[in-house]
Each structure stands twice: as C-alpha cells, then as structure tokens.
Symmetry: C2
Subunit: 132 residues, 2 copies
DNA sequence: GTTTACCTTTACGTTCACGTCAACTTGTTT
DNA sequence: AAACAAGTTGACGTGAACGTAAAGGTAAAC
C-alpha cells in the first residue's frame, strides 16, 4: 500500500492540526459526509480532499457557509438545468472578482511589509552606528 | 480645495459602506484614534488611510487584533530598541510567509473556479444540443 | 474482565464583530 | 422655541465557529 485509503477522525485532526470537534462541526454543517462503520466515522481520500478545500477556504477568509456554497456550485455543474447553470456562472464570476481583489490586497500588504522591513533594517544600522 | 482634509464619522461610513457603529468599534479597539472637537470625532486623511488599511486586512481574513498587531509593528519601527527591532523582523517574516500561503491558496482556488466554469460551459453546450 | 484509548451525541459556554435599542447632548433649520 | 438631524456613550442581543464538559458505546491490550 502506497497511500492510506481511509482515515479516522483523529487521523485527520492530527494531520491538519484541528480538533475532532471542528471536524464534526463541519459535518453538522454539511461540509463533510463521511460514511459510517456502526456509528464511527470513516473518512475516504475524497473526504480528506474535501477537508483540505475547507481549510483553504478558511485561510482565505471565507465563512463556512460560503465554502458550502462553493461546494454546492461545483456539485450543481453535474446535472443542473440551463437556468441553474447560468446562475452558476454568475456566482463563479463573483468569486473570481473577489479573488482578484484579494490578490491586489495581498500585493499591497506585501509592499507595506517590505517597506516596514526596510525601515527596520535602517533602524538597526543606525543603532549599530551609534554603538560604535 | 482639491481634496477634503477632514471627515465626519458618517462621511467615512458612507464612503466605505459600513456603519458608524463599526467605525466606533474599531476605535474602541484602538485601530483608529480620531481627534475630537468637543466630543465629536474628527477624522483626518491619515485616519481615512488607516481605515482603508483596516478594511484591506479584513478582506484578507485578518482579525481586528491581528490588524492592530500589524499597526503596532509599523509604529515600533520608529524608535524601537535593537531587541524589539529584531523581534519585529521575525513577525514581519511570519506575515510574509502567511501571505505567500494565501497567494498559493488563491491560485489553487482560481484554477478550480476556472475548472468549474469550463464544466459549466460544457454542460450548457450539451443542453443546447439536446434541445435541437 | 477491566482498564485504556478512541469514538459518539447532547448541550451549554465563549469569543469576535458587530447590530440594535435607549437616553442623551449639540448644532441647524423653520 | 420647537423640531430635527447627527453625534455621543452605555448596555444588551446576535450569528458564526468553535470549546468544553457530561455521559456513554466499543474494541484492543494487559
């Protein structure tokens, strides 16, 4: 076996550094749908990918509801009506615009951080000159 | 006058599409420090820039506390001790790493959105073929 | 066979980022 | 002067995203 095929809830909790409580919380809100053996949750590789996507969304500041919306959008691409699909395209475009804004924000912040870093270096140089 | 030099709280609320409550909330948490005329808040151009920065941080998913930390970092570059400055550099680097992660996340999500959009187009084409 | 480790649900508690009154002062208009 | 707009400080309410404690099921390890 080169890759694990199923995971327990604590496997995932450990791997992604979150609590089992969080993982169950995501399931409560339909972001995950693991199968069960008895009442114990069994997570597939797909479930693990899904969890990765959730965390990525969170890092970008999306709410869980927004993340679920994205998942639903994706699911809807298989077997949606024409009307649904058009609405879907709109939603996707909204997201893309949103992400472009975020990219811009990141670039601005990066500039400012570099700026701060330069000021920092400069201040250090001055301190060391005064010492000598 | 080519540019306004001061703003009322509702000026800013209108311009950035938020409530006066939010603006006062930011002040409560030391993210803004407008001057006062009597008890009325007067916002300078600098305050307005500061507010812009707050909103940018929020769009990137930073908490208000984290945003305040960034401001404090920046302030500390003027007149910090050597030790402070070194610690500062570390913090800035953390942020930069963080932002690079976010940039990566965005790129991944953009790929997925494009992917979804293609599936969407494809599905639309098929529907239209079946109609004919 | 019972401790140990891990899993389960139920339910109340908490923090963050505001929203929403309420009660008030301070100009401004009529 | 009376009304109205815009600002002020509390204080309590709210939804999101969990934390945490309670009470118990299950299965391997000793």
């Amino acid at each position: 076996m080169t890759e694990k095929t199923t995971y327990s809830i604590s496997d995932l909790a450990a791997e992604f550094d979150l609590t089992t409580r969080s993982i169950r919380f995501y399931e409560d809100h339909q972001l995950l749908k693991p199968t069960r053996r008895g009442q114990t949750r069994i997570y597939s590789r797909q479930d693990r990918v899904q969890l990765k996507l959730i965390l990525r969304g969170k890092r970008l500041g999306f709410s869980l509801i927004e993340i679920k919306e994205l998942f639903d959008l994706w699911d809807a691409t298989t077997g949606g009506s024409e009307k649904q699909l058009l609405l879907l395209k709109e939603k996707i475009d909204e997201r893309k615009v949103n992400l472009e804004q975020q990219q811009h924000d990141i670039k601005m912040l990066q500039l400012e951080l570099n700026n701060a870093q330069n000021r920092c270096e400069q201040a250090l140089v001055e301190i060391r000159n005064n010492k000598a």
